[in-house]
């Protein structure tokens, strides 16, 4: 039965245990990778930094662009991503909420 998240019991010993990440968690991870990289960040760095498959990365980047949290900049035909002001504010707010939830034992 697929519940959308990975249960410890579903793993055998050969498979490394995967931790379930919510959409919010993945968004935080992507935004944090871009922030960490400074002024701009390429898709490969985001892919490795946020630990995502290519398909999921494209989908999440499109969502974040739609929400105007990140913007795409082209340099020598290569795409880079930057945090918008709205994205920076959103990331700060998420960090606060994460801390708040964490204090009550809630992780997302």
């Amino acid at each position: 039965m697929s519940t959308g998240h990975v249960d410890a019991g579903e793993h055998n010993q050969m498979t490394p245990k995967k931790e379930y990440r919510s959409k919010a968690r993945i968004n935080i991870d992507i935004l944090r990778v871009i922030k960490r990289e400074g002024d701009k960040c390429g898709p490969t760095r985001i892919l490795y930094g946020a630990n995502l498959s290519h398909d999921r990365l494209i989908r999440y980047l499109a969502q974040l662009r739609e929400l105007q949290l990140i913007a795409e900049v082209k340099e020598n035909d290569k795409a880079f991503y930057v945090l918008t002001d709205k994205g920076k504010q959103f990331l700060n707010e998420l960090s606060r909420i994460e801390r708040f939830a964490d204090a009550f034992g809630i992780t997302f």
């Binding site: 919010a24 998420l94 606060r96 708040f100 009550f104 034992g105």
Partner: protein, 207 residues
């Protein structure tokens, strides 16, 4: 001075209710951003808790006004007071039940053997206040486990908050033998909510 002292527990309850609403609001804000169900449970829990406290404050004011008007308590007043007390207790039980569900969800995710709440509920089903004490005791213990795992100031403040709230209910429970414990309970409850307010202030000032 005597009037001020008489109304101070109500004033403390009102402040506690306001803090409860603020925390509930912040939890809702968190839910809107993260879609984490635990935050929604927290929101409903604190809002219900706030509403129950406001209800008690309003009812007590109303009853005091009626008693002053008619000099002696009327049967209708006594009935209203009993009904309001019942609603207050049930609302608090729902709120603490939501906190318990939240912590049980988290405990399950962490793989802890934390399915002890139903046993408590089965054992104590006679007195609402006693169930509230048991539920809140469970919540306090779970928040202590979270503190042991996280070891940060915010988790410490939440643990202190729930522990003081648990203590306050113990004091309320023992007002049967000593009425003076009611004020002690109110003070303890207020300290608990102030701990949660300090936690919220710390969290919201993170840059």
């Amino acid at each position: 001075m005597a009037t001020l002292l008489a109304f101070s527990p109500l004033f403390m309850e009102l402040i506690s209710a306001i803090i409860s609403f603020i925390i509930g609001y912040y939890a809702l804000k968190g839910y809107r951003v993260s879609s984490e169900k635990g935050l929604l449970l927290l929101h409903f829990g604190f809002v219900i808790l706030g509403v129950s406290m406001i209800l008690r404050v309003i009812t007590t004011f109303y009853v005091i006004a009626l008693v002053r008007e008619f000099r002696s308590p009327q049967p209708a007043v006594a009935a209203a007071l009993t009904f309001a007390s019942l609603i207050y207790s049930v609302a608090q039980l729902i709120a603490y039940g939501l906190f318990t569900v939240n912590y049980t969800r988290q405990a399950k995710m962490l793989g802890q053997a934390a399915i002890i709440a139903p046993f408590f509920l089965l054992r104590y089903n006679t007195y609402l206040e006693l169930i509230a004490v048991v539920l809140l005791g469970y919540v306090a213990v779970q928040s202590m486990i979270n503190l042991a795992l996280k070891r940060n100031t915010e988790a410490f403040l939440v643990t202190s908050g729930f522990s003081f709230m648990f203590l306050s209910h113990l004091f309320f429970l023992f007002t049967i033998v000593e009425e003076a414990l009611y004020s002690t309970g109110q003070i303890t409850q207020l300290i608990g909510f102030l701990c949660l307010l300090v936690m919220l202030t710390r969290v919201s000032t993170i840059k």
